[in-house]
Amino acid sequence: MIGEIRMRVTKDGADTKILAMVTHPMETGRRKDSKTKELIPAHHIEKFEFAINGKTIASANLGAAVSKNPMVGIKIKQVNSGDKLTISWTDNKGEQGSADKTI
């Protein structure tokens, strides 16, 4: 199912690592359907954003060469228990989604 979001927050030494994955086909537009032999249109996430308590901390720009079901990792200095982590994405077809997690 496109747009299912999973997040993992872990301590990495003094820093905090945030890993997020969104299910998405990330079609490049160069692949042919094995049955119809037609090119499958490009369909990939463009913006992939991380926010804490509503403030954007990281904003990734993904191209079609990012692997299917993109998994993106960032690190921040500190999170506090009770902080709200939001992952949001938009794709080249205008589809979008987001999910929250309380740390």
């Binding site: 820093d15 690592k17 890993l19 490049t28 160069r30 692949r31 042919k32 463009e46 913006k47 991380f50 804490i52 403030k55 954007t56 901390i57 990281a58 904003s59 990734a60 720009n61 993904l62 191209g63 079609a64 060469a65 990012v66 692997s67 299917k68 993109p70 998994m71 993106v72 990792g73 960032i74 690190k75 921040i76 200095k77 949001s88 938009t90 979008q96 987001s98």
Partner: protein, 156 residues
């Protein structure tokens, strides 16, 4: 919530018009504008310098040993090549380029509130250098790493 996201996205798309003009003037983009707009023009080009200019307003980068690229020496699966970038530089933006891909820019990340770290999984068409460019203030720094792949990654 959805309406707000669409408006923010549209604001970013409108802002990109100004960003392209700034690129023409050879100026590096201010971080706030970059964080909003998707740099569509930077994707799909095989020319590294044109790609960097579209993304950062400049293609001049200096190698830095403060950028560490963690990547497989030999990737078993060319459609899922894990790349991890760590840098002690104050990174505003990190870009990952696969130099033999049909569009060299795989992705970039703006880091208004996160430290110099970015991990992503990419498709590689063939064995090539992976070039990482970090924008720190007004300067671009880079590091390169050869990644070999066993099978073509574009599914063709």
């Amino acid at each position: 919530m959805n309406t707000m996201k669409r408006r923010t996205f549209l604001k970013g798309a409108l802002a990109s018009g100004i960003v392209v003009a700034a690129a023409g003037a050879g100026l590096l983009h201010p971080t706030e504008v970059l964080a909003a707009a998707y740099p569509k023009k930077a994707f799909g080009d095989t020319d590294v310098n044109k790609t960097l200019t579209a993304l950062f307003g400049s293609s001049k980068h200096s190698p830095s040993d403060k950028i560490i690229i963690d990547a497989p020496v030999q990737a078993e699966n060319a459609t899922v090549v894990p790349i991890t970038v760590s840098t002690s530089l104050k990174a505003d933006t990190i870009a990952v380029l696969a130099l033999k891909n049909p569009g060299v820019l795989t992705s970039s990340i703006d880091l208004p509130g996160a430290i110099g770290f970015y991990s992503v999984r990419i498709k590689m068409g063939e064995s090539s250098d992976v070039l990482v460019v970090v924008k720190s203030g007004d300067k671009l720094y880079s590091a390169k790493r050869l990644v070999k792949v066993t099978v073509g990654g574009c599914g063709g």
